[in-house]
């Protein structure tokens, strides 16, 4: 009897957290729609002022204020930057940077390093791709990250439109959207 209760509680928690996750995505999209400083502008600012290669992007909050949380790599200085930019005016609210190497050991794993090397070698334009995705899917890009899997380096974008959240994978080598298996 006790065991059945526990399972029931776990199922409720799971469904609550799933709904909470969806709510977060909706809130993030709403924040972007209301922002004065766009995602493209944030990317442009970080790329030109801090580090060229952006590996992660999401919406976070800083003292109850929505921010763009962006992680980027600067190969020249061998540093990893973590920045929080205001959605209002693009002001840098928080800045952290770490050396890529700590005690001669690289903080990035092999997949991350390969992904960055391929990104460096490619002609991929992140800002342009985001603009194209927004137009193609009539959606807002509210989260993305750079990944490497099975030798393929790609950006995993999360988009939100009227139909709900959507995952779009873009191969950085070809710039093409990967097909998704439906079922």
């Amino acid at each position: 009897m006790k065991f059945t209760k526990l399972i029931g509680a776990a199922l409720i928690l799971t469904s609550v957290s799933a709904v909470a996750g969806k709510e977060d995505d909706v809130l993030a999209t709403m924040a972007i729609q209301r922002a004065n400083f766009s995602v493209e502008q944030a990317i442009e600012k970080v790329s030109s002022d801090y580090a060229q290669y952006i590996i992660e992007f999401e919406i976070d909050d800083h003292h109850n204020q929505a921010t763009y949380e962006i992680e980027a790599i600067n190969f020249e200085t061998q540093e990893k930057h973590k920045l929080e930019l205001s959605l209002e005016d693009g002001a840098v609210l928080k800045e952290e940077k770490k050396n890529l190497k700590y005690l001669m050991v690289n903080r990035l794993d092999d997949d991350e390093l390969q992904a960055l090397e391929e990104l460096k070698a490619s002609n991929f334009e992140l800002g342009k791709t985001i603009a194209q995705l927004k137009q193609k899917y009539n959606a807002e890009v509210f989260e993305f990250e750079l990944e490497n899997e099975k030798g393929i380096t790609f950006y995993k974008f999360k988009l939100m439109n009227e139909q709900g959240p959507k995952r779009v994978i873009v191969d950085i080598k070809t710039g093409n959207v990967l097909p998704v298996m439906k079922y």
């Binding site: 899997e149 099975k150 994978i169 959207v177 097909p179 079922y183």
Partner: protein, 453 residues
């Protein structure tokens, strides 16, 4: 430089061992490769071929259906087919919509039945899959058929890795076992060669060691040893006969010589002509000289071991200077130029008087056969010496024959000689563990002597 030369000599000696080893290893690798290819074709190759066959069947079936059914009917059956097929990912693209498992067309798709690999995203498992597929044009759209063959590729990769390891092991095993086998075989062949070389240099008592294995090599060694016993016996018999003849004939010939000398003296006292007797005496001296040379040759060829025990360090440079001094009157008589190049200090273990005879004989031969106004050169080398001239030389077919006893080249028969000079020189050089070669000097002859000590 010297170490490189030594290394190269070792390499040349070891070449047979490696040739056998490589041959054996090559055969072993070939067998392993054939086995791996067969294994691959019967396992992964077969699975891959079956997949292709099934894909071809589906393409054929859908093409036929597309021709037989109208577009709506075709789409309805395609939906059912795409949903029911778990192994194959079927997608159909019309002008307005995508039906089936994939939501878009991959970029690098090729025409069926040529397959292309491309990545797709699995939302359910949040992962990338690499699949193989192709596209086929149908009357009202494009059919895309693909298969998730990642496991087959992984299997191929594992097979290749395992094959590489197997080949490396086979290579290692082949080299080790081949080397051991070749070394053992060639060691025994080389021991036979060494004995043959010793016999060739005059040590007729040399015999091949026979092992306890009683194998083919031992049988061969026994046969060769028996042959050598017979050969030694024959040589000893011939030597004995030669010695006996020489001893038996030398005494009466000596007496004959004394009588001739006495007769010549008597004739001279009585002012009688003695030219004929003088000529007879000269002929007799030639016979006696030939006997002495033959006896010495036999001794040299058979008493190598005893002789080499009494060898002392000899300065070759000094011997060459002395030999040139002695030959100079003869060369001046023929207006020949003799050049001596002896900048090196070369010493060997040997018999100085025999070596002197060898050098002198070669110079004498050069002076005798090179002709008037010829240039004769004697050069000391690191391991021996070279006597060369610019005379008529010796043709290739006769270069080996001139070392035989009493052999004379046809065109030189008018020049005095017994055909024992070069035979004696060769015997002396072999007694000193050396080799003698006759080479073309273009023009003339070059006699190259090298000592291995």
């Amino acid at each position: 430089m010297a170490s490189v030369t030594e290394w190269w000599k070792t390499v040349k000696q070891a070449r047979s061992i490696w040739r056998l080893t490589f041959l054996y290893t090559g055969l072993l690798l070939a067998v392993v490769i054939v086995l791996l290819v067969v294994l691959f074709q019967l396992s992964i190759g077969q699975m891959s071929r079956q997949q292709h066959l099934q894909m071809d069947n589906i393409i054929q079936q859908q093409t036929q259906l597309a021709q037989q059914l109208n577009n709506d009917e075709f789409i309805a059956q395609f939906k059912l087919q795409a949903e029911s097929s778990r192994q194959y990912l079927l997608t159909y693209q019309t002008q307005s919509k995508m039906i089936g498992r994939l939501n878009s067309i991959p970029s690098n798709l090729s025409q069926c039945s040529k397959l292309a690999r491309f990545p797709i995203w699995l939302d359910k498992y949040e992962e990338i899959r690499l699949i193989s597929g192709c596209s086929q044009s149908l009357p009202d759209g494009l059919l895309i058929i693909a298969i998730d063959d990642e496991y087959l590729y992984d299997l191929k990769g594992q097979f290749i890795t395992a094959s590489m390891i197997a080949l490396c092991l086979a290579l290692l095993m082949g080299l080790i076992t081949g080397l051991i086998f070749s070394t053992r075989v060639l060691k025994r062949i080389n021991s036979i060669n060494k004995v043959a070389l010793r016999v060739e240099s005059g040590q007729l008592s040399a015999r091949i060691a026979v092992s306890k294995h009683n194998d083919e090599y031992d049988h061969m060694a026994l046969h060769i040893n028996t042959m050598l016993n017979q050969l030694q016996h024959s040589f000893e018999t011939i030597a004995g006969i030669t010695d006996a003849i020489a001893h038996d004939l030398r005494t009466p010939l000596g007496h004959l010589r004394q009588q001739l000398e006495s007769e010549i003296e008597a004739n001279l006292k009585h002012n009688l002509p003695s030219e004929q007797l003088q000529s007879m005496l000269e002929k007799l001296d030639e016979i006696l000289f030939t006997f002495s040379a033959m006896l010495e040759l036999t001794r040299l060829q058979q008493q190598q071991e005893q002789k080499s025990q009494h060898f002392k360090t000899v300065n070759l440079q000094q011997i060459m200077v002395d030999a040139v001094d002695l030959i100079e009157p003869l060369t001046e008589e023929k207006q020949q130029i003799i050049k001596l190049k002896s900048d090196l200090e070369v010493s060997i273990k040997g018999d100085a008087s025999l070596l002197f005879r060898a050098v002198y004989n070669l110079l004498e031969n050069a002076s005798k056969y090179a002709g008037d106004k010829a240039t004769i050169s004697l050069q000391l080398t690191k391991n021996g010496f070279i006597v060369s001239d610019n005379g008529p030389g010796i043709c290739d077919s006769e270069k080996d024959k001139v070392f035989q006893r009493l052999y004379r080249i046809e065109k030189s028969r008018q020049i005095a000689g017994f055909g024992l000079g070069l035979t004696l020189v060769k015997a002396i050089i072999q007694l000193h563990n050396g080799s003698i070669k006759l080479l073309d000097n273009n023009p003339g002859l070059s006699v190259q002597v090298e000592f291995s000590q």
